[in-house]
Symmetry: C2
Subunit: 318 residues, 2 copies
């Protein structure tokens, strides 16, 4: 990468990285289509100090890098974008998982699309009510690398309730209609392998694959950076699901420090209210470091500028 | 700065910047005392692309830099640390101001310690109930530079309700006991001019300066980075005030993307409940972009790991 002094990894926005590689200087680079798609955050960059590069290879789908950082533990990077660090991954993994899981009264069959690092799987299996969890990840290298270098995330790949599928999420969904209580889409940004997971046809498919009363959650970007994309996604999901709500949580190493979660349900209900409440003791017993029942509700309370932008989206033609 | 390619400003942790300047390589630099004080975030850095440097001089107290960024508007930097950007300043300014202001039923006299960019002043004056607001800022250059380059923040320096004092906050407080309903400490990090504003003697003084029923808020760092400092501050403020609570909000350009707020009151009460509720229309009329009454409550709901760390702090000897 060699853009910062030796010993630092810098995450640029994909369009800026392209421009830098091509030696386009200053502010002359053009906005790429990806900016509108939500996969870019031009003009800003985040860096972590490297202690040691542990793994760096190209898989069939993407560039896979793992390094040991000085202060954030091991870090997984796909196509130049930080996916998780050992220090703060639990905010993302717990919120993306437990918002739909606790909004559901009885989630027995769960599907994870993506999630190769194993963090979401770890969280899903904390729910004893779960009978089977299927994970459909396209890139086997991410799983293998995570088993080796992110053992706390990839801790449950041998669990007897796990049905692991290496393959394309879209294809898998088309063959499993009406099967799942909860579907969690743990994808990278809408550039590269995950691009199709941000479109309307994907959500139409999810609707078919959920059982009655089913709930889904998806990685849905940061309101600081991608409010237009979020509004757009909420607009088209509302034409498919009777319930669509948006939550967020701070994740310090994601661009802008916030991650958003789109939560939709096949029936009309308020998913900001947990169907199952946890006491402090139960939180402790489940090993929850971020999630609690009060935070479940609070995560859906949005800043005024976000509320306004998303309420406009609800008025989109259905 | 020249550490990133030309045209980017990089905010390093002060101890890392020191180490880089001294060409200490890799992970060999020693943790400075400042790490424990909360003014450091080693091993990580944040960069913004520069369109133009607008101002760069040393004041009596600190290095003052303003640049026009490519995607965050104008940016104020003190001693190498980003203080605010035009794009996301409203989260910090509104939450630090309106949490204590709306927790108070009738805040007539308000004191701002620091706040030279004028953003807190702008927010305080949105409350018509305010009769007088005193601002005590030590560094006049920050005010002058903000008037010129951050006009949306520094919009109210000519307001008739303003009593502007250029001087040391500590000295001012000692001469104004029992005068204020709300005191807002809008300081930089606990390194340099603001260091004394994070200690117990400062809070003892604030207690004397508040009227009965008075409420204070202070910039109180990020729980991702400085949980020890926050626990420590909550520990000693609890020995002074009957009510001490902690809130937070995402601010995308602060280290880790989160800022915390310490809210204390001279009487036993729950400051997470606004004494004055706002409708959506009233929010709009006041020009609030971040704050709303639901968010007031939600800002005090903490992640499990933060709740645990801070509940330990309450057990510190009084």
């Amino acid at each position: 990468m060699d853009l910062l002094q030796k010993g630092w990894f810098t995450e640029f926005s994909p369009d800026d990285l392209e421009a830098i590689k091509n030696e386009v200087s200053g502010t002359k680079q053009l906005k790429s289509d990806n900016v509108e798609l939500g996969g870019a955050w031009p003009g800003q960059a985040f860096s972590l100090q490297i202690e040691k590069v542990l793994f760096h290879e190209k898989s069939k789908y993407q560039d896979v890098l793992v390094f040991k950082s000085r202060t954030y533990g091991n870090v997984l990077v796909l196509d130049g974008i930080i996916q998780c660090t050992e220090r703060d991954e639990f905010s993302y993994q717990e919120m993306l998982t437990h918002l739909p899981m606790f909004a559901h009264p009885n989630p027995k069959k769960v599907l994870i699309v993506g999630g190769g690092d194993g963090g979401i799987l770890r969280e899903v299996l904390k729910h004893e009510v779960v009978e089977q969890v299927t994970m459909c990840e396209i890139d086997e290298m991410v799983i293998e690398v995570s088993k080796k270098y992110l053992p706390n995330m990839a801790a449950q790949f041998l669990h007897p309730k796990l049905n692991l599928v290496i393959g394309d999420g879209f294809k898998f969904l088309a063959e499993h209609k009406g099967e799942y209580d909860v579907i969690i889409t743990d994808s990278s940004d809408p550039i590269g392998p995950a691009e199709s997971l941000f479109g309307k046809s994907y959500y139409a498919l999810l609707n078919d694959v959920l059982r009655d009363g089913g709930i889904l959650s998806s990685q849905a970007e940061s309101y600081w950076l991608h409010l237009d994309l979020i509004s757009h996604m909420i607009g088209f999901t509302k034409s498919i699901f009777p319930t669509v709500q948006y939550a967020s949580s701070p994740v310090s190493t994601y661009p802008s420090g916030v991650m958003g979660y789109l939560i939709a349900a096949k029936e009309a209900r308020d998913v900001s209210i947990p169907a199952r409440e946890l006491s402090d003791d139960e939180c402790e017993k489940m090993g929850l470091r971020y999630y609690n029942s009060q935070l479940h509700r609070a995560a859906f309370v949005l800043p005024t500028f976000v509320k306004k932008a998303l309420s406009v989206a609800t008025k989109l033609p259905k």
